[in-house]
Symmetry: D2
Subunit: 337 residues, 4 copies
Amino acid sequence: MIRVGILGATGYTGLEALEWLLRHPKVQIVAATSRQANGNMLSDAHPRLVGRLKLLLEDLTPELLNERCDVVFSCLPHGASAHRITQLLKLGCKVIDLSPDYRLSDAALYQSWYGEKHPEPMRLGNTPYGLPELFADQLHHTQLIANPGSYATSAILPLAPLLKEKLIDPDDVIVDSIGSWSTEGRLHKFSNLFCEASESITTLSIGSHRELPEMVDVLCRFAGSKPRISFTAHLVPAERGILSTLYVRSRSGVTPNQLRECLHTYFYQTSFVRIVSNLPSTRFVHRTNYVDISVRENGDRITLVCALDNLVKGAAGAAIQNMNYMFSLDPTLGLVP
Amino acid sequence: MIRVGILGATGYTGLEALEWLLRHPKVQIVAATSRQANGNMLSDAHPRLVGRLKLLLEDLTPELLNERCDVVFSCLPHGASAHRITQLLKLGCKVIDLSPDYRLSDAALYQSWYGEKHPEPMRLGNTPYGLPELFADQLHHTQLIANPGSYATSAILPLAPLLKEKLIDPDDVIVDSIGSWSTEGRLHKFSNLFCEASESITTLSIGSHRELPEMVDVLCRFAGSKPRISFTAHLVPAERGILSTLYVRSRSGVTPNQLRECLHTYFYQTSFVRIVSNLPSTRFVHRTNYVDISVRENGDRITLVCALDNLVKGAAGAAIQNMNYMFSLDPTLGLVP
Amino acid sequence: MIRVGILGATGYTGLEALEWLLRHPKVQIVAATSRQANGNMLSDAHPRLVGRLKLLLEDLTPELLNERCDVVFSCLPHGASAHRITQLLKLGCKVIDLSPDYRLSDAALYQSWYGEKHPEPMRLGNTPYGLPELFADQLHHTQLIANPGSYATSAILPLAPLLKEKLIDPDDVIVDSIGSWSTEGRLHKFSNLFCEASESITTLSIGSHRELPEMVDVLCRFAGSKPRISFTAHLVPAERGILSTLYVRSRSGVTPNQLRECLHTYFYQTSFVRIVSNLPSTRFVHRTNYVDISVRENGDRITLVCALDNLVKGAAGAAIQNMNYMFSLDPTLGLVP
Amino acid sequence: MIRVGILGATGYTGLEALEWLLRHPKVQIVAATSRQANGNMLSDAHPRLVGRLKLLLEDLTPELLNERCDVVFSCLPHGASAHRITQLLKLGCKVIDLSPDYRLSDAALYQSWYGEKHPEPMRLGNTPYGLPELFADQLHHTQLIANPGSYATSAILPLAPLLKEKLIDPDDVIVDSIGSWSTEGRLHKFSNLFCEASESITTLSIGSHRELPEMVDVLCRFAGSKPRISFTAHLVPAERGILSTLYVRSRSGVTPNQLRECLHTYFYQTSFVRIVSNLPSTRFVHRTNYVDISVRENGDRITLVCALDNLVKGAAGAAIQNMNYMFSLDPTLGLVP
């Protein structure tokens, strides 16, 4: 059994990880930390877990965590996550980081988007990016995996193969994402209140979302150069799910069918990407690790739509996929059917 | 007092028109028709109206309607609307058509998008398009006004001035709309059920929405030629509202500020368009006739966001604005504050 | 014109009052206060008001408020409200208090439920309770009116006539209310977050809601003695509305029809109570000042259902009704149609 | 492996059963029927199942079903279900009936509530009622189990022990249930539309719900005589979940704590009933087979609140529990963690 600990277990990502880990046949959940709720029962923070998981929320030292756990999932906020992970890595502990701290390739880029210095700049660019559909070979026997952002995942999965195969113009890409409120975390903000979010279709960010540099960075590896992306994120009255609409221009002569074929070829042997013929809905992937992608003509552009559950494929599900790779298990273990 | 009748009063647009007309100081509601609910009280179809409006749902002949009404709002489905309106116009009755039947400029275009012949092809191209912010001068003393579509309104208002002033490239326009379920009407479809629509972010149409030719047609008058638009519409779990995101490229040297200025100049003296500095939300225009527009840089493109209530500015509110013009009243009467 | 000021204008009740007052033909809104947002534009707190109401949020002294206003609506929290109102009353200012501070008949009762001493105990029991359907004669030319609670309103309106006429047993009454999230105010609590409230049917309080003593107090005046009420309040994923289900036992021989008749008789000449034959829904009273009540047999009990919009008839609408009485205007002015 | 078939697989209960059965380690899903969608892929009706379950929707004869399946789950509507099940039972097939057809004890009662004759009146009163927490000993090696209604489950579980132990008055019981829209099925009704159900707190039935006689019937076995229950059901804007509030009077001298103890004693050794100290929410049992119950004083009554997921513990989860008993498996198999 793999002994797993969760850092920052009181948020939405923490709860989601706990519920999936509970169902995983090779996992034992051995630690859950929280600075604020230290000393409480985990089921006080998450009444769903009453009678299902008896665990104390603790404020554990890195040493104790390392002793108890084979791998730690960090669900801490950015900054705090890297500081804690640095200590764990030194002790030899394996870590899957659900925060954005190890996703970018460059410390200067990190600082410009997150407003603070990265504690371990050398690791940026050397940490495997946990998208097994594209980087499976980098995830075996590694000590640290950067779990991808949910908006980034919804853009990278459809675009990476098309850029790699040079089927689309890397300088003319639009990503328009419709997200749900759990992408904003379990935070006290006026905008997060039910009475503000209900009946509200609103724009969250235009060109300024922190997962934009993440997309550009990762896609650069496929395109050969930085693609030019305009990225907008919206929020709508849903709890889970991201549906991203991608507007691309195919290279001259390339048909929508060829794009569809290309995606089929890339994802045929993976387990969670479905190239669908109907129009995707987050409902069809709700509480699953699946990603639905469709391709359609749209005037003189091609439009791809990609739907996923941000708490599963965009967070906890991907983390478990990554853990399965790290420990050389069947990559779908605990995630299907 | 203007005596107003509503054709097809049992749907969402019909109810919305009735509620706004009730508040209008110069209006008397004198007729409400329904083929199916003929003979019932209007308040049986709309329990909100109990004690507020005592009216029978009738299946009136054009002659009776014309006798009783100074103006008729048609909330019938396309096709049915034109057939009924043809008869009313012959009798001299004034009509505001909330269906799409008189919006397009060309009968062949109508037939290709709606799959049936138009009963009055000569009127296409000659019927004023009821967007007073752009066509106020055409709306006085006219007999028939084509009330704009709600998705079309959300795209045309921000784009028309920019195309007219040649500030943006007409061949590189994307309209990505997030709509609410009332845009789909009060129809029995599986997709409309609460349990399907809840927690569902889904794509409704890619390049195939019937308001696409409407946008192109109307914007052509400003751009001088048909703009090339990729149009996608999504549906999210909200009852009212449309938020459209427009991706445009400004002509070389043109700044976002110049676009903003241009919109200010065009809409400064109108009553319902607000160029806002915050990011728009449908919540801020919910159950009002206002339209909020913002302009932002987004990579090498400029992104405009436009929010409105599809049942008000996208339907009943616009219809009342148009009626006010038709009868030479203050254009904001019954719609503010 | 009546010059109205709003204390605590940044909450949901404040916004609702502002929107209704804007539509009131005899009102001019002249002041809006906020301690925290002091100095901001009112439309920064409520973007719905952009272009509709230009007013600064101020932290005004009682003297300045009294100078500027004919009447002040207090939307402050309990405690803070009474302290501010005490000062205003001394200056001669008229006040409608939307907080619970002047609703109870007794200072000891207030202290036991609100945990603090009341600053003006003599006023408890002497302040008119602003439910015009029952106490219209007490509301003329008064200086202070206690605006009723929304849960209390939904229970008192159906029960008062039945208790007065001794048609039901006062010792066997259950009030089971299903409320929406705006009844909890615009407060930062974890439970208020969209991701907690969505897909959550939950119980808010059992026998411990602060509007329970208010119901008992007011109904005592009709029953002759304190009725014995079990009161439960629930919260469901809606923004507005309360639907209360009342379980009563009719006195021997009394039929449901007699209860219905009694309610008809009491409310026939009032403007906002509708005794309906269909089963009520908050949807039918949403954003109106109406109250829908139905009466049905249910085993050996009789069940009454009462639906209202907590922000309108349960707060701002009732306040405007009360203001109309205070200033001898038509009681429905600004509230219909 | 148990070979399972689903009758009426296109509805909400059918989908829920399919998803839980997919996760069950001892089950193979071998048939899914639909009269209307006969010939389509199951994943066309439920796009969630794309890539997870490849099965054709068929209109199978009882003979073919019996050949292929060890047990059949019937998710057909009442009436249709009994007719189909009669044939299957004759062939020796095991059946779990999720319809209400075999729940009542008496054919006359069935006819008076369902308006039609029961095809197998002798089976009424002799079919085990599939609530393992109360009737586990009757569920082994049986051929047919009547799966309980979801509203009935939420009332019976808390009340049965208290009535059995004579701790409460059987003649003074109120059940007030707040349900979600999936309790109404995947049916075309106007009331089911998103735009009707959103922002609507409404009453579904007062004293006339078909699960009322089911509650009375089953509880009669515990109370010794028919308890007198007033039952009201409401609908609120949620997809899943039922929260029922039960108002009871304890026998003289009996404290709330004694009721709590009694429930503890009865359910201590079962797996899915949690007697909780916090106030229940459907959110805490959402998509699980758990039932949360709390006990509180409420004036001179005691109030119990019971929350469950109507599609799981109220339908598919209970059916799997029942199947586990039928086949002598661990009762929690496929349902935890």
